[in-house]
C-alpha cells in the first residue's frame, strides 16, 4: 500500500477526507511506515505460543467465573437526554445526514 490511488481508496474505506494536494505527502509517509512494518517479514513465528493474548495480564480468575452481574437502576430516558449536551438537534430530535 503505497501509491496515491491505494491511499485514496483507503481514505474512502476509513471515512477520511484528505485534500488532493495532501495525498502525495500522505502516500510517501505511509510508504515509509510500511517499510518499518515489513520488518516483521523476517520474523519466524513457528515457536510462538498459540494462546490468546491478554496484554500480559495474569489471569487470576478463570474467564467463566467473572463476577456476577448486580442489577442497578438505570437512568430513565428523560434523565439520560437531560444529561446530554444537545448537538446538531432540532425540536428534540438528533439531526443526521441522508443514508
Amino acid at each position: 500500500m503505497s501509491n496515491e490511488i491505494e491511499v485514496k481508496k483507503l481514505c474512502e474505506l476509513s471515512k477520511l477526507e484528505i485534500p488532493d494536494e495532501m495525498i502525495l505527502e500522505t502516500s510517501n509517509k505511509i510508504r515509509e511506515v510500511m517499510s518499518l512494518f515489513h520488518k516483521l517479514d523476517e520474523l519466524d513465528i513457528s515457536s510462538a505460543d498459540d494462546t490468546d493474548s491478554y496484554g500480559g495480564l495474569r489471569i487470576e480468575k478463570s474467564l467463566d467465573s467473572l463476577r456476577g452481574d448486580v442489577p442497578r437502576r438505570s437512568f430513565s430516558v428523560t434523565d439520560s437526554v437531560a444529561k446530554l449536551k444537545l448537538l446538531n438537534t432540532r425540536n428534540g430530535f438528533v439531526l443526521g445526514p441522508r443514508i
Binding site: 500500500m1 491511499v7 483507503l10 481514505c11 474505506l13 476509513s14 471515512k15 477520511l16 477526507e17 484528505i18 495532501m22 500522505t26 509517509k29 505511509i30 515509509e32 511506515v33 510500511m34 517499510s35 518499518l36 512494518f37 515489513h38 520488518k39 516483521l40 517479514d41 523476517e42 520474523l43 513465528i45 515457536s47 510462538a48 505460543d49 498459540d50 494462546t51 493474548s53 491478554y54 496484554g55 500480559g56 495480564l57 495474569r58 487470576e60 480468575k61 467473572l66 463476577r67 448486580v70 444529561k83 446530554l84 449536551k85 448537538l87 446538531n88 438528533v94 439531526l95 443526521g96 445526514p97 441522508r98 443514508i99
Partner: protein, 487 residues
C-alpha cells in the same frame, strides 16, 4: 510562596490535616502559579479554578469540624485531557472533540475525589495520545520547562510539564507506548506505567485498549505512591482490572537493601543510546552495586521486531476506536442536513490532525482482509513471543533496567516531519506495553546542556512494589528529584 510550591504533596497533606495550612491557601498559590507561568509552557488545555477553590473550602471545613479527610486532602491534580472529568471539556487535544463535555467521571477521578484530591484542570497532550513529543496537539505544543526550545515529550507532555514546573504536585497521564514515561523522563519527574489491569481504564478515551493504562506523575516517589494507591484496584466498570493487590508502601532503606534484588541490565539496548544517557545508566548501576545487589548484563532477544509489531497493533486498535467519532454521537456543531451519510462522515472527520489520520489509515490497512495475517496476526504472535522472553528473564531477575528514551529531548519541530524516526525512539518504552508489565522512569540527571535524562526500571506483572523499593533507594542517593527548573 516558593517554598510552598516546592513542598512535596505528602508534606502539604500533613500540614493541611494538621491545620498548619489551609487547603484553600495552597490551591490559591498554585492557581496563581499557573496564571503566571503556563503561557510559557502550555501544559493546560482547560482549568477548573473556581471549582478547585470550592473543593478546597470543603476540605478545610471538614478539618475544622473534626471530620476525617482522605489521603489526598486538598491536593490539586492535573488530569490528562483524555480522562473524563464530569462537567469539564474532554478534548483529547483534538478539534474533533473541542466542544465535548464529559457527562461522567472516569473511575480514577472518582477515586481521587473520594480521597479529597482536587481536579485543577485538564492537561495538554498529543492528539488522542498519538505521539511522543506533545507537538501533535491542536492546542499548540507543550514546551519543556527546563528549556522551552525543546519538546516536553509525549503524549502526556502537559501532565509531566505541569508537575515539573511546580504548577501542580501530581498529575495523571495515560501510557500506550511510553506516554507517561517519555515526558516524565524529558521533564525530570517520576512517572509510572502500571501493570495492565492494575488501574481502571473506565472513562479513558480509548486509543489502543490492549496497550494503554492510566498512571501517576509526581516529583518524588512518595507522592507517586500516594496517587498510585488512590487510583489502583478492581473496578466493576472495567472488566480487565485484576483481583486486588496489596497497596504499595515506602519501605525503609534497610528493608529494601535486605531484599537482595537480582537486577538485569539490557546491555544490547543500552549500547544504541546517546552516550550521555548510557553514562547516567552507569551511575544508577553503581548506586545499586553499592547496596550489594546482584547486577548482570543481559540481551533482549527479538528487539528488532518490537517497534513494527507495536505500531501495527496500536494503529489497528486506533482505527477501530476512532471510528466512533462521526460527529453524531460525539463532535462539534455542524449541520448534517443535505449531506449524504458518507460525505458528511468524511467531512466531519477532516478535523482529525495529520498524525491521527495517518494512524487510522495504517490501521485500516493492516486489518484489511488480504493483509490481516501478514501484519496484525503476526504482530500478535510476536507479542506472545516477547512475553515468553520476559517470563524467561523474570525467572532469574527481579527487575530489569534500561534507559527510558535512547535520546535526549529534541528541539521543537526538529523531527515532526519524520514519523518513522519518532516511532523508533519508542523502542525502550513499548516493551512494557506489549507485555503488560509495569515500568517506572526516574530522573537520573542532566546532559551537558542541562536537559533531563531518565532511567527506566521494569518488573513482572503486579510487582510494582519492587519498582517503588528501587526508586526509593535511588532517589535517596541521587537527589535529582529535588531540582526544579527556572522559568
Amino acid at each position: 510562596m516558593t517554598n510552598l510550591l516546592e513542598l512535596p504533596a505528602h508534606v502539604v497533606i500533613g500540614k493541611i490535616k494538621g491545620n498548619d495550612l489551609k487547603a484553600v491557601e495552597y490551591v490559591s498559590v498554585l492557581i496563581q502559579r499557573i496564571k503566571d507561568i503556563d503561557y510559557k509552557i502550555n501544559s493546560f488545555i482547560s482549568t477548573n479554578f473556581e471549582n478547585a477553590i470550592k473543593q478546597a473550602k470543603i476540605v478545610d471545613k471538614k478539618i475544622q469540624s473534626g471530620e476525617s479527610v482522605g489521603m489526598l486532602a486538598g491536593i490539586p491534580i492535573g488530569i490528562k485531557d483524555n480522562i473524563s472529568v464530569k462537567g469539564l471539556r474532554n478534548t483529547c487535544a483534538s478539534q474533533m472533540l473541542r466542544d465535548y463535555e464529559s457527562p461522567y467521571n472516569a473511575t480514577v477521578v472518582t477515586n481521587i475525589e473520594f480521597q479529597d484530591g482536587i481536579v485543577m484542570g485538564k492537561t495538554n497532550m498529543d492528539e488522542f495520545g498519538m505521539g511522543n513529543t506533545s507537538e501533535y496537539s491542536s492546542f499548540g505544543p507543550v514546551k519543556n520547562p527546563w528549556n522551552s526550545e525543546y519538546v516536553a515529550g509525549g503524549s502526556s507532555g502537559g501532565s509531566a510539564a505541569a508537575v515539573s514546573s511546580l504548577q501542580v504536585p501530581l498529575a495523571l497521564g495515560s501510557d500506550t507506548g511510553g506516554s507517561i514515561r517519555c515526558p516524565s523522563s524529558f521533564c525530570s519527574v517520576v512517572g509510572l506505567k502500571p501493570s495492565y489491569g492494575r488501574v481502571s481504564r473506565s472513562g479513558l478515551i480509548s486509543y489502543s485498549n490492549s496497550l494503554e493504562q492510566i498512571g501517576p506523575v509526581a516529583r518524588n516517589i512518595t507522592d507517586l505512591a500516594l496517587l498510585f494507591n488512590t487510583i489502583e484496584g478492581t473496578d466493576a466498570f472495567d472488566n480487565t482490572t485484576a483481583c486486588s493487590h496489596k497497596k504499595s508502601v515506602i519501605n525503609s532503606l534497610d528493608q529494601i537493601t535486605s531484599k537482595g534484588y537480582q537486577i538485569g541490565i539490557f546491555s544490547n539496548l543500552t549500547e544504541n543510546s546517546d552516550i550521555q544517557v548510557q553514562s547516567k545508566l552507569m551511575e544508577m548501576i553503581k548506586v545499586f552495586e553499592r547496596h550489594q545487589f546482584v547486577l548482570e548484563n543481559i540481551d533482549l532477544r527479538l528487539k528488532e521486531f518490537a517497534v513494527a509489531a507495536y505500531y501495527i497493533i496500536a494503529t489497528a486498535e486506533a482505527s477501530s476506536n476512532l471510528s466512533r467519532f462521526d460527529n453524531v454521537r460525539y463532535g462539534y456543531p455542524s449541520n448534517p442536513e443535505g449531506f449524504e451519510w458518507n460525505r458528511y462522515y468524511e467531512k466531519s472527520r477532516s478535523l482529525f490532525g495529520d498524525e491521527v489520520k495517518r494512524r487510522i489509515l495504517l490501521g485500516s490497512f493492516v486489518l484489511s482482509a488480504g493483509y490481516f495475517g501478514k501484519y496484525y496476526a503476526k504482530a500478535q504472535a510476536f507479542r506472545n513471543m516477547l512475553r515468553t522472553e520476559f517470563e524467561r528473564l523474570f525467572k532469574k531477575y527481579d527487575v530489569l533496567i534500561l534507559p527510558t528514551m535512547p535520546i535526549l529531548p529534541i528541539k521543537l519541530g526538529e523531527k515532526i516531519s519524520n514519523p518513522v524516526q519518532l516511532y523508533n525512539f519508542d523502542l525502550f518504552t513499548i516493551l512494557a506495553n506489549l507485555t503488560g508489565l509495569p515500568a517506572i522512569t526516574l530522573p537520573a540527571g542532566f546532559s551537558d546542556t542541562g536537559l533531563p535524562i531518565g532511567i527506566q526500571i521494569m518488573a513482572n506483572s503486579f510487582e510494582e512494589q519492587k519498582l517503588f523499593d528501587l526508586a526509593v533507594l535511588f532517589e535517596d542517593e541521587s537527589k535529582f528529584t529535588e531540582r526544579t527548573p527556572t522559568i
